[in-house]
């Protein structure tokens, strides 16, 4: 049993209704990473969607930038308890990328340059809920924030928004990704405070 620390309340505990439970507001953009920042040249970059039959859809940077681009204004919530409101992104909707993909599998595994993985149900990527984002605040996405491009799934905790994303693989089952194997919640809804198993 631990003692309480006089005068320590922890950060946040804000009453702002835009904040999910247990989150505090930040103005800066903390860099969270489980490893070194990979160097990914746009000339070598590609994004793939691989279905359960092994069929692969592939975009290089030029093809990707020729797709319909969305402006996205959204709040983001990190499991380390910071939230950032009103962030501004540009990216390609997963609806656009999945338009020609035939699949009956219900789950996806996002794979990143550098080896990171995270699992997301397909339903959470469609209907205007997720993007492959390449611009933040009017600038190219910094490598330390996931550039050239990252997954953006803002309604889930931000570890689901895989940095340096390079592809999605369809899965029949909701297999856990990197952090999900090791104690983090398989779904990660910030409003339900689904931080851990």
């Amino acid at each position: 049993m631990s003692i309480f620390t006089r005068g320590f309340s922890g950060r946040g505990r804000d009453d702002n209704p835009a904040l999910p439970p247990g989150q505090y507001l930040t103005e800066d953009f903390p860099v969270l990473s489980a490893g070194p920042t990979p160097t990914v040249d746009k000339a070598d970059w590609e994004f793939t969607i691989t279905t359960e039959t092994g069929e692969t859809h592939r975009w290089n940077w030029e093809q990707f930038m020729a797709l319909k681009i969305d402006q996205v204004d959204t709040d983001i919530h990190c499991v380390t308890r910071w939230s950032k409101l009103g962030t501004s992104w540009r990216g390609v909707s997963l609806d656009t990328l999945f338009a020609d993909v035939e699949t009956s599998a219900g789950y996806t595994m996002a794979h990143s340059y550098g080896g990171y993985t995270t699992n997301v149900p397909l339903d959470d990527l469609l209907d205007g809920k997720a993007w492959i984002a390449f611009e933040f605040d009017g600038e190219d996405l910094d490598p330390e924030h996931g550039g050239p491009a990252r997954l953006l799934v803002p309604h889930l905790y931000f570890w689901k928004s895989a940095k340096w994303v390079r592809g999605l693989t369809m899965m029949e089952n909701d297999d856990p990704g990197f952090w999900e194997q090791n104690g983090y919640h398989t779904y990660g809804d910030p409003w339900q405070e689904q931080r851990y198993w």
């Binding site: 860099v31 489980a34 070194p36 380390t80 952090w179 090791n182 104690g183």
Partner: protein, 85 residues
């Protein structure tokens, strides 16, 4: 540059599981076979949990996740640990 710490910082958390000081323990990397004291591992603490990587090849040695009042340690990348003077 992505910041990381040294394995020294693992001393406290690993003392939850091990009696000996584990930062002077020798570990073998499952990926490249490097054999080093854990104090020299790279600890990426700016993440949902801590990700501990081999200083030689950069592969993941272990992860530590604090889930409420429980600590979960995954030793996926360590094939051997040795303690003693």
């Amino acid at each position: 540059m992505t910041e990381h710490l040294d394995g020294n910082v693992l001393a406290g958390p690993l003392s939850e599981l091990f009696r000996d000081d584990m930062t002077t323990a020798i570990g073998r990397c499952a990926h490249c076979g490097d054999v080093s004291v854990l104090a020299t591992a790279l600890v990426y603490d700016a993440a949902p949990g801590w990700c501990v990587r081999c200083h030689a090849c950069g592969d993941v040695l272990m992860t530590l996740v604090w889930a409420g009042d429980r600590l979960r340690i995954d030793l996926r990348g360590v094939t051997a640990l040795e303690v003693g003077d």
